[in-house]
Subunit: 328 residues, 2 copies
């Protein structure tokens, strides 16, 4: 996941965007101005078609029931979502899975609402209903202003015209310009030693060693087990590394010839490995970009079997795929 | 105006709040848990009483009509509100006053909607209907996520338990701790000279002169005319200083004995100098803070005539005032 979408309500990232003067480099992912202009809800037995207004109403209704733990759609239960200190209620929800919450409201959801809320939550978590914290969803919901439109704005509407790399490269170039950065790529690390007095020693698989006064590690959780730490990591971190990420998000782009699908959005669930997809852009020759997401639910590696990956796309709606790019 | 209210959707200020680790120091201004728990709409001839749910519905309906220039409540017209580059439509709205826009929709507003939208806009601008840019209101609206709830969140719901000064003092103390700050208070400036080669010379009314390589001025617009600039300010800035601020916001706190008014909100318009007020806090002995706002519309200086100021408060609802504090 590359931080594709950004929003002016995301404090920390927006401050950096403003710092680099990139406020005018945003575009809107969706384009509902022409073409099919439909929301397709593809479940196991059939595909239903809705207008985008009907889509908003359906998903809003579904998520509203899901988050309405307090009669105020989470406003009372999660009053300060930016805080890292959880109140008693928040702790309770953090010990509840999304599956637990769905069980509580199962008699209140229509079948379509259930497809939508499950699809939407799995898009957010990349996990399964059983391994997604209910609190974490409420947390995102509250940070996004307690509304579905807020979630769309914060999560998936606005992106850089030049791609996320147009942003990242500013950080890198600024660090370079300081004259104080040396760097190396493609050197997987195998050992980190931080014994008192001798500085931090970082050894790579190819046998090189780097020494520094301090080290900041931003290695993903699932990589930590491949590295020998001396002294060892704290017990809690070792345990977390053993469990690994519950988030197994799959993100795939397809370039397709059908221009009309620029205005399609869709949920394809529960049978499909790609759960949520939509028209996300257009190439200079007029082909459509479709972006789609999967997760631990029906997990697959898109590059393992390109035919399976294309099949997953076609379970939203038939499309003529020219090219597939996956980001895991 | 002191920046009382903050929100996690305000990128620049929230980044600083996070930097100082003050995320857990927020509280919610409103408290609708007990007492009168009403919205009072006091117009010239009578005072109507509504529940807060009715208040939200009424103001939402009023503002929705006001901002709905594109069938999408401003989403299409103001797609990138964080940008300083105005598109053609935004430029058109920037040349339209709020009074112009109200004229366009005068047949669609109920009298109560009209009271609410005018009161709300004047709360935001501190000016008059004729001197408030319609674009500027749309701009705030869009930055707040295109919703009334978003406006409430961004503008008036969350504040520091320790007051805004608990935040400002962090900046000051950090600058002090750098060992690189000298400062002086209560030295009004009368002349600034920045002639080539000799640095910036700043002269105060008491005759002191400060010299620096560079100077950052954050003097308010209405002060600039009292200062001799050498070389003179650019023509545009001189003209702006001559016109002065259209924003003449009045902000007054009253400490009152009526505990039940903790849960009151109100609009008092068009006859009153204080247009918008609500219960904003509680003293240790249980008195209620009420905060109220006025502007250029029926402008007055609250400290000129304390009886008039108290009268303005009582035009929301009768209250026993113990103390008044004004901030202009």
């Amino acid at each position: 996941m590359g931080g594709t979408w950004v929003y002016w309500g995301q404090a920390i990232v927006w401050r950096e965007i403003a710092r680099y003067g990139m406020q005018d480099e945003l575009e809107i992912s969706y384009d509902f101005s022409r073409g099919i202009n439909k929301f397709l809800l593809a479940s196991t037995d059939k595909t239903q078609s809705f207008t985008h207004e009907e889509e908003d109403a359906l998903i809003t209704s579904a998520i509203s029931k899901f988050v309405n733990v307090d009669g105020e759609h989470g406003r009372k239960a999660i009053p300060f979502p930016h805080s890292t200190k959880l109140n008693e209620l928040e702790e309770k929800y953090d010990c509840m899975s999304v599956a637990d919450r769905l069980k509580e409201i199962e008699h209140d959801l229509t079948p379509n609402e259930r497809l939508c809320v499950e699809g939407w939550v799995l898009l957010c978590s990349g996990a399964t209903l059983e391994t997604t914290s209910f609190y974490e969803f409420l947390h995102w919901w509250a940070l996004s202003g307690y509304s579905y439109e807020g979630c769309i704005n914060h999560l998936v509407r606005y992106k850089f015209r030049g791609g996320q790399s147009s942003f990242a490269i500013r950080f890198f170039n600024e660090a370079l310009a300081s004259g104080n950065l040396t760097y190396v790529f493609n050197e997987p690390i195998c050992a980190i030693s931080d014994e008192a007095g001798s500085g931090v020693h970082v050894t790579t698989e190819s046998g090189k060693t780097f020494v520094a006064a301090k080290m900041i590690s931003c290695m993903p959780l699932n990589v930590l087990n491949d590295i020998t730490f001396s002294p060892p990591l704290p017990e809690g971190k070792q345990q977390a590394a053993k469990i690994g990420h519950v988030n197994q998000t799959v993100k795939v782009h397809a370039e397709i010839s059908d221009r009309d699908l620029r205005s399609f959005t869709g949920i394809s669930y529960p049978h499909n490995g790609l759960i949520f997809g939509f028209g996300d852009g257009e190439t200079p020759v007029g082909n459509t970009h479709v972006v789609a997401f999967g997760g631990k639910h029906n997990h697959f590696h898109p590059e393992d079997d390109i035919n399976h990956t294309m099949e997953c796309f076609k379970r939203f709606v038939p499309m003529d795929i020219k090219r597939v790019v996956s980001i895991e």
